[in-house]
Assembly symmetry: C2
Homo-oligomer: 325 residues x 2
């Protein structure tokens, strides 16, 4: 059986797949930017494709049985272009890394350890209470609104509640989920809950319904001290509206991990947005790596390996998203 | 009734005390470095002294009924020097701020948002998974050892557990405390538990028993990747032993909020230790402000005000530590 790992994200799982599957499969590496002939030959043989994307212009893959996204988002998969009979699975497990990232980002708004260290290291005691220092604010008592309440929203909520924060959530289908938010509503109440939020965490899938969901109208209702944190997909937040709100200081800040433009490959230094967020001091930015941890790779590719074993054994797959079982 | 707020930490509570007590008391300000005559006059009148310290060389205070520490630690109070009949209370409420500080410090070891932001802001995508970036480690699954399991240790534990960390604790008297640590032991087992810790958080009072408790022997048993975090009192950790372990890279790092030397007053730029921790890149340092928050001041001085009211009303005091009621 030939398993084609397309792209660096899929290839990061090589060692976990090899450990789990032994020599029962061939693990083949490719990049979407490889010479077309090489790529076509590898697709020709592939029984399983591990890749976050599937595009109509990919080479023919007559043996393909499984497309396994090594990630959660399905927005880069052209389902209509998939060969007949191919099943699609995805993988989560990023709630740990992203939960840590979001809490780091929220803590940074009340407590800047790097800055304090720089000042005190020079021998300057001015931030000491005994020298009359101004006290900082606390995360405790502040409100975080999770837009989307799947594994990421819940991972943020578990941690935020331990800090004494209030947790609100909007979700497509409000239902009984743990931990129970203080308030849960459907997307129609997004503006109302955004008005009370100190932090708005974007943690929903990108769909037709959520594209541009955080637009000028929602941002206009937010507190001028509030922070937008986007760990989902760039275009759920309208980039012009966000840039305008940040420039006008109608919003406190933004922590952006997901973007509007991505490099096509090695050496492509494309800027991540059409507006210069990188020139702003009320923005913190990271290159879509909020969940990129060793634990993520271990957990995700253990699942991918299990699903490959299931294909071989003719067993039902875990996390099958297409066709819906 | 005259309430003497001695020092900037006590004076930070002025507005909260005024709000709570109205005009029933005089709030008088002084610094220990004031001219001796001025200070003596204010002590002469004081019914209540709000101050973290009491020293034998303080002026006579014949009317003093209550010494209220606006903090938890009692190590700066010379109890033998207190006038007959004076009661002493202290205040906690710093578990929120210190819990936030400790989690920030731990998160910083796995996720350096400031550095990532600096790199990506320049247009460098090299930390992106799609560009083959190395994944980071997670806080989840790591072990934190709380040395002391009072309000600070428990505050750290609540938060750390929400991150999926293992929590161990050593305490003078192991007993049933929430949240329940994975392992709890008395100080005799400190070395054993320190050997398993990724983070050792010093969160016990400074007493004869705990001075130098974290010495060369304990540090020698720790992992070379582990971090010592001291939010209690400097001298619970032997400074030479810590400096030597950090210099030899036998220890991963230290996050130090509490120190060995403090400035006597404004303009005194004394270095906080006898060894140059400020020259080391595996040390993060802050000037004893880990718990210094607006919420702390509100909560602590609400208690101080309540105790002053209780003195006036002849009611029992809250958090009385001397004489033990």
């Amino acid at each position: 059986m030939s398993v084609l790992l397309l792209g660096t994200v899929a290839q990061a799982g090589h060692a976990v797949l090899r450990d789990a599957l032994g020599e029962t499969v061939d693990l083949v590496h490719a990049l979407a930017t490889d010479p077309p002939g090489d790529l076509a030959a590898k697709f020709q043989d592939a029984d399983v494709l591990v890749c976050p994307a599937y595009r109509a212009d990919y080479p023919a893959a007559p043996n393909l049985k499984l497309l396994h996204a090594p990630n959660a988002g399905l927005d880069s998969i052209e389902f209509d272009a998939l060969p007949e009979g191919v099943r699609v699975c995805n993988a989560f497990e990023h709630d740990v890394g992203i939960g840590e990232y979001v809490l780091s980002a929220m803590l940074k708004t009340v407590l800047d350890l790097d800055r304090t260290d720089r000042v005190f290291r020079k021998g300057d005691w001015s931030e000491a209470p005994r020298m009359g220092a101004t006290p900082r604010s606390e995360l405790s008592g502040q409100t975080v609104l999770c837009v989307g309440y799947g594994s990421i929203g819940q991972g943020v909520a578990v941690r935020a509640k331990a800090f004494g924060m209030k947790v609100d959530a909007v979700t497509r289908t409000p239902r009984d989920l743990e931990p129970r938010p203080d308030r849960m509503a459907d997307f129609s109440r997004l503006g109302d809950l955004a008005a009370d939020a100190d932090f708005l965490v974007v943690a929903c899938p990108l769909t037709e319904e959520t594209e541009g969901l955080i637009g000028a109208d929602v941002l206009a209702r937010m507190k001028p001290t509030a922070t937008v944190i986007n760990v989902a997909r760039g275009s759920i937040v309208d980039q012009k509206a966000l840039y305008d709100a940040l420039t006008a200081k109608r919003l406190g800040g933004a922590v952006l991990d997901t973007w509007y433009n991505y490099p096509a490959g090695e050496g492509d230094a494309v800027r991540p947005a059409d507006y210069p967020f990188w020139e702003m001091d009320n923005v913190v930015m990271s290159p879509h790596n909020s969940g990129w941890t060793q634990g993520l790779i271990q957990r995700r590719f253990t699942l991918v390996a299990d699903n490959i074993r299931r294909v071989l054994a003719g067993e039902p797959l875990i996390n099958q998203v297409h066709p819906l079982p």
